[in-house]
């Protein structure tokens, strides 16, 4: 996509490499190998959840790879105004101009827009919606803003975006709230001594009838409070479900993963497959995109989806173990180190 212009000769050289046996890539990887992925969560202390992810960064100076920063921020919204009951998620991808120096600002906007659409449509899908984004039913809810900044693109940007998004959402803590309401206590308005006991007979008429036909549920709660101002809150519900994407680059008849920039420009077609792995269910394909100018048959696509799932699962497991490790590093270990000091 972010095409570095390469010559025909280079292109055909790279393509020939994929098709040779064994396949050859410029950096010596096998077709289905990833470059090294580095991840750190909690990088933005003021965000509710954040992560920084890089693919293929140089081990010595940390430069040269694809680099993405993701952060989530929760905002309180009134349902009547512009929120929706039970909360909503809005994803935005911004590309740093430094990541794509060759693009004009209009082209950059288009690119950001494309990325935003793919990410937003996938993540705001109802099947993934967390249950704890509501504050007060029909009154107030959380708006989860997921902002992604592409700092550098050295190929395979979509996988990086989705992984970073997943990490940031995993890291997101929703402040615990308690709804505050005032209920009129029926029948017992404080008990004026004597004054009322005598007239209690006609009070029964006023009593509210509880009937199954009465479907009105009037919410009395008008406001909420934070239960614990020190605690960042509970994790976002269903954080296991957040999907990851796998980009299959398709130089027919084979496919390979994690393309570098020159590789991307040498391949006409790629398939973007987004899988979610709910803990005890079978995996779901959450989204699928074919990018590029080539063609793809349905039969081939079926195989690709199956293959893709295999790669995605590996990536998912690796990512999960890293996320858990990060959690421990940031809390338990930090505390222990503090205690040992």
């Amino acid at each position: 996509m972010a095409s570095t212009s390469i010559s025909k000769a280079e292109k055909s050289y790279i393509q020939a490499g994929f098709l040779s046996s064994p396949p050859l890539r410029a950096d010596g990887r096998a077709l289905h190998d990833f470059r090294s992925v580095a991840l750190e969560t909690g990088v933005a202390p003021l965000a509710n959840g954040s992560a920084r992810l890089s693919i293929g960064a140089n081990a010595h100076d940390g430069g040269g790879g694809t680099e993405v920063l993701a952060a989530t921020k929760l905002e309180v919204e009134n349902v009547e105004e512009d929120g929706c009951d039970g909360g909503r998620i809005v994803c935005t991808v911004t590309c740093s101009p430094a990541a794509y120096p060759q693009l004009s600002s209009n082209a950059l906007d288009d690119l950001q827009y494309d990325m935003t659409v793919i990410l937003h449509q996938t993540l705001s899908h109802p099947s993934l919606h967390p249950n704890n984004l509501g504050i007060l039913p029909k009154k107030k809810s959380w708006l989860l803003n997921l902002d992604i900044v592409v700092l550098a693109d050295a190929g395979n940007i979509y996988d990086a975006i989705f992984m970073a998004a997943r990490a940031a959402l995993w890291d997101t803590k929703v402040p615990k709230t308690r709804s505050v309401e005032y209920k009129v206590r029926k029948g017992n308005s404080g008990g004026v001594v004597g004054g009322k006991t005598g007239s209690s007979g006609d009070m029964d008429v006023d009593e509210e009838t509880t009937s199954g036909f009465d479907t009105r549920q009037i919410q009395q709660a008008t406001d909420f409070e934070l239960t614990d101002y020190w605690d960042e809150g509970e994790v976002l519900d269903g954080r296991e479900r957040w999907p990851i994407s796998i980009t299959l680059n398709l130089p027919p008849p084979t496919h390979f993963l994690d393309a570098t920039l020159p590789e991307e420009s040498a391949v006409p077609l790629k398939a973007l497959l987004v899988y979610s792995f709910p803990p005890s269910e079978s995996p779901n394909v959450q989204a699928m995109r074919i990018l590029g100018s080539g063609e793809l048959t349905v039969v081939l696509l079926k195989d690709l989806v199956k293959e893709g799932e295999k790669y995605a699962r590996e990536l998912f497991i690796a990512l999960n173990s890293k996320l858990k490790e990060e959690d421990i590093r940031r809390n338990q270990k930090a505390r222990e180190r503090f205690a040992r000091r």
């Binding site: 202390p45 509710n48 308005s189 001594v193 406001d223 934070l226 809390n331």
Partner: protein, 1000 residues
């Protein structure tokens, strides 16, 4: 080359270095706040000469700690937990409580979070000279800083922090006392964790920290008896598992809702917030004025008043409209009804027989009220929660009947009742060992809490003020009751005075002297001052002279206080917080140090003084041609009393310039007054009496008389009004956003309804309240030819229907509400008494800036600042008036007593005066004795025939039934009697004519 290292803090340590918390803003947003934390190793321990810490010179904790406590013979320091400050602040503040205190940062912050007033007291405590308090920043010392564990509540975390600081101190202190070879090792003082939380104590003891509860600690102290009294009631309960708490006792009141629930209810409009006002005639009734209703919300019965104390900000729930009722029209005296209630019994054993009967009696009283028909019903409700308590220290007497043993030597702990001097407050129950000693004294009591199962609030003794009815005790109790700051001025304040002291004089007129800069030399003018007798703080002087063009020049010269009181120095802030000078009958509490008030700023005769002058040119018909303001130097030629000026004016033989000047002023004043009255100004009245004191030494007043008014009173008043109005216009023009003005809002029509109704029914007179002018006119018509005092009475009652005037900042309210209703002036301010009112000082500064004399101080450009100051001044002003009135009342009481005794000697027995009926109750009459300026109650022992619609009661007399109605003239016997139990003085009135009420 210098090597620069960047000590960047790795993000991996974020959990230690960053302190994060969430905050909900007022607009309902949730924001995350992040604070960086830097830990260090050089936070000092504060112990004198500690070899480990690099101590600054100001270390405060003695090396050996405090050795006076028998439980800690090696010496000790106390380290109090947060709850100690939250509940036992009075104890810690007591000068008898002397152990050295280590105050942790965690504790300070927790106190701040829980209660701002207590936090301020705590801050003051750390600066007190007689306290040894060291603030230890434990959250910043690397050894004592802690990080919150997973699932740890904030409270637990703080407790852990406090414990870890305690153990660090214990370890640290052994380093400070290193064993020296060949010497007996020094005894190491103990660090004692003082906490009310049993769980925390237990945990502390498990980790080897000595911990103790406040009560146990104080019990063993030298002056335990005095100190134990200061313990707040909270200490005995709840947190102490050894004592059974309230247990199965039935709750008398419903529980309060949580603050957030209340706010939610208020937001949704179901609940209403307002100030609770107790009814001074009926202790079982109160009212809350809320924005949603025109009439205030009535609360009937203890349960519905739900433990509110006068002045609290409460939240009420309104009943259905069919349950609304009218106020009872009955006098219910707390002391009379509750006299049998036993302090111990209702405190410890719960409901007993006599308390049951008491409940019955109370509910009967409440029901009685329910029967009242006819009079208008008002919204009725109950209190469901309290937003803010307005508890302070109250002046009380101990109720002698509540004492179980009265032997003065007994030091047994007893529960007694303290009856507040103010009738608006409930009795307070307190536990004390000093009860027999405190009997007959005025004491200060603080309310600690009021539990749902306790009929009375619980409090503790703060200090004794002295024997009741002694001049000192009464004076101090008055000042405390009305929150008047009466401490002598501190050194920082006195340092702001001119260095020359009373030797200060206006320097010679030279170009170099800064006093003369831009000042007009008015020393040659014939200026004089007219004031009440014995006036020492003369803040105004006047002059008038004929101009060649036929016009008259009149000048008002006001003491130039703002020359001495500069903005934002200690003297200025003290004056701002005092707000006004308070005049009691026998004492004046100055707003400014007396050097200024009675000397340098006082426009005494024959000396040169700095002044701020307003000078008008007027036509002989008192039309203003122009006005100018200038700083000046004047030399008054005479200081008259009102009476002296009057005789001088009236003496046809005198024709000197001074007398002419007074005459000129007088003619102008008459015309000014005429114009003012034509514009609709009100001539109001308040019962003002004058107390003759025998001498300044004795507290025995000789007699009471009503103040006499001279024509010259009105002369001075007119010119002061004129000056105030002119200045108000000027500063409002120059500073439209922040001008300090004074207004009097027109009273709501509803306030007059009752008075109109009474006048109509009883006298057939009408009161037209559509504007101040029509009101003034109709008040003039309310004349009873047979009774000249009747008109004054109506004026007094009309005054009571009005709102009080207030200071305000011109930018904060709408232009159309600037008007002064009583004076019928579109704009008004206070300018003429800067010695005794702070608002005038502000007006002076603004006027000086508006004539370009000085630039305006930045604070006076800030609307919020001006508003804040004026809020204080308004409150102080109100309090000062009430204090002054209460002081007069006390002396009237004394005078009556004296007169009663004298007449008893003469065989008469009673002080007999004629009085007007101003209110009728089911079981009594409210009367006003105009000669003495006092109000009183005539109570009947049984109900009379009461007609609330016609304001009449019918009582059986010797020759058939007698009707008594509002405005009737009756004769009463007045007697000052002391309540036998509480020593609270009380004016008792009995009806003599038309019937003798002793039989009723």
């Amino acid at each position: 080359m210098v090597e620069i290292t960047i000590r960047k803090r790795p993000r991996t340590e974020a959990v230690v270095t960053q302190h994060k918390f969430l905050k909900k803003t007022a607009r309902g947003k949730v924001i995350k706040v992040l604070r960086e934390r830097y830990l260090r190793d050089d936070v000092a321990c504060g112990i004198q000469g500690c070899p480990v810490c690099d101590m600054p010179a100001e270390d405060v904790l003695p090396v050996a700690g405090d050795k006076e406590h028998p439980m800690f013979p090696n010496g000790h320091f106390i380290l109090p937990d947060t709850n100690v400050f939250l509940s036992q602040m009075d104890l810690i503040e007591s000068s008898l409580f002397t152990p050295p205190i280590i105050l942790l940062q965690t504790v300070i912050e927790e106190v701040r979070h829980r209660s701002l007033p207590l936090y301020n007291r705590l801050k003051a405590l750390t600066k007190m000279d007689d306290k040894r308090v060291w603030v230890f920043y434990n959250e910043y010392r690397s050894e004592t800083a802690i990080v919150r564990e997973e699932d740890e509540t904030p409270n637990d975390r703080n407790d852990r922090g406090i414990r870890s600081a305690t153990s660090w101190y214990s370890a640290h202190i052994t380093l400070a006392h290193p064993p020296v070879r060949g010497r007996v090792s020094e005894k190491v003082p103990t660090i004692v964790l003082l906490t009310e939380d049993a769980a925390n104590r237990e945990k502390a003891e498990r980790s080897g920290i000595s911990a103790i509860s406040v009560r146990n600690y104080v019990n063993k102290m030298k002056n335990a008896t005095q100190l134990l009294d200061l313990l707040s009631a909270t200490g005995t309960n709840e947190l102490e598992p050894t004592r059974a708490s309230s247990g199965g006792r039935a709750a008398l009141y419903s529980d309060y809702l949580s603050t957030s629930t209340l706010l939610a209810g208020i937001k949704s409009g179901i609940l209403h917030q307002g100030h609770f006002n107790a009814n001074q005639y009926n202790y079982l009734e109160g009212s809350v004025s809320v924005a949603a209703f025109d009439k205030s919300v009535l609360l009937v019965g203890r349960e519905n008043m739900n433990r509110a104390v006068d002045g609290d900000v409460v939240v009420v729930e309104i009943f259905d409209e069919k349950e609304w009722r009218a106020s009872t029209n009955e006098v219910v005296d707390q002391d009379a009804t509750l006299k049998n209630d036993d302090a111990e019994a209702s405190g410890d054993d719960g409901e007993e027989l006599d308390t049951n009967s008491l409940v019955d009696e109370e509910s009967k009283l409440v029901r009685n009220g329910a029967k009242t028909v006819g009079t208008e019903r008002q919204p009725t409700g109950r209190i469901v929660g309290i937003i803010k308590r307005n508890w302070r220290a109250y002046v009380c007497h101990i109720d002698s009947t509540s004492l179980s043993t009265a032997t003065s030597t007994s030091l047994a702990l007893q529960t007694v009742f303290a009856t507040p001097v103010s009738r608006l407050l409930p009795r307070i129950r307190l536990r004390t060992r000093q009860a027999p000693i405190l009997l007959g004294q005025k004491i200060l009591v603080t309310i600690d809490r009021w539990d749902a199962h306790s009929r009375y609030p619980e409090g503790h003794f703060v200090r004794a003020l002295g024997k009741a009815e002694t001049k000192e005790a009464e004076q101090e109790s008055l000042l405390l009751e009305f929150d008047v700051p009466y401490r002598p001025f501190g050194k920082a304040i006195l340092d702001c005075l001119p260095k020359e002291g009373d030797q200060w004089v206006v320097p010679l007129k030279q170009d170099v002297s800064k006093e003369w800069r831009d000042r007009e030399d008015l020393r040659e003018l014939i200026i004089c001052s007219i004031d009440p007798p014995n006036c020492q703080d003369i803040d105004d002087a006047l002059h008038a002279r004929q101009l060649p063009n036929g016009n008259i020049e009149a000048g008002v010269h006001i003491a130039d206080v703002s020359h001495f009181v500069l903005p934002d120095n200690p003297m200025d802030s003290e004056a701002a917080s005092r707000g006004t000078t308070v005049y009691l009958v026998d004492k004046r509490i100055d707003m400014l140090p007396s050097l200024l008030g009675t000397n340098l700023c006082s426009l005494r005769p024959f000396v040169e003084r700095l002044a701020f002058s307003a000078i008008w040119e007027m036509t002989p018909t008192a039309e203003i041609v122009n006005v100018r303001f200038t700083k000046s130097v004047i030399a008054s030629k005479a200081a008259f009393t009102y009476a002296e000026a009057q005789t001088r004016k009236d003496d046809p033989n005198l024709n000197d310039p001074l007398t002419q000047s007074i005459r000129l002023l007088n003619t102008l004043a008459l015309k000014l007054k005429e114009k003012r009255m034509a514009a609709g100004a009100l001539n109001l009245a308040s019962p003002e009496v004058k107390i003759h004191l025998d001498s300044s030494e004795s507290s025995e007043p000789i007699d009471v008389e009503q103040k006499e008014l001279h024509e010259t009173n009105s002369l001075v008043e007119e010119f002061m009004l004129l000056a105030n109005i002119s200045v108000a216009r000027k500063i409002q023009d120059t500073f439209p956003q922040t001008a300090v003005l004074r207004r009097h809002l027109p009273p709501p029509k509803a306030n007059f309804e009752k008075l109109q109704d009474i006048l109509q029914k009883r006298k057939g007179m009408t009161l037209d309240v559509s504007s101040s002018g029509t009101l003034a006119a109709s008040l003039d018509k309310c004349v009873d030819p047979a009774e000249p005092a009747f008109n004054t009475l109506v004026r007094i009652m009309a005054t009571r229907c009005m709102l009080s005037a207030e200071y305000f900042c011109s930018g904060s309210v709408g232009r159309e509400t600037f008007g002064h209703y009583g004076l019928a002036s579109p704009i008004y301010t206070h300018f003429t008494s800067p010695i005794r009112r702070y608002a005038d000082v502000l007006a002076h500064r603004q006027l000086a800036a508006s004539i370009g004399y000085t630039p305006l101080h930045a604070t006076l450009h800030s609307k919020s600042h001006v508003e804040r100051i004026l809020d204080v001044v308004n409150r102080r002003h109100r309090m000062a008036q009430m204090a002054g009135r209460a002081s007069v009342e006390f002396y009237v009481g004394l005078a009556l007593k004296g007169r009663g005794e004298r007449e008893k000697k003469d065989g008469q027995g009673h002080v007999r005066e004629s009085a007007f009926v101003i209110r009728t109750f089911r079981n009594g009459l409210g009367v006003f004795v105009s000669k003495l300026g006092i109000e009183g109650l005539v109570m009947f022992k049984r109900d009379t025939q009461f007609d609330p619609d016609n304001y009449t009661i019918t009582v059986p007399g010797a020759g058939g039934d007698v009707h008594i109605a509002v405005f009737d003239k009756i004769v009463v016997d007045i007697e000052v009697e002391k309540d036998k139990n509480t020593q609270r003085g009380k004016i008792n009135m009995t009806l003599v004519e038309p019937v003798d009420s002793r039989a009723l």
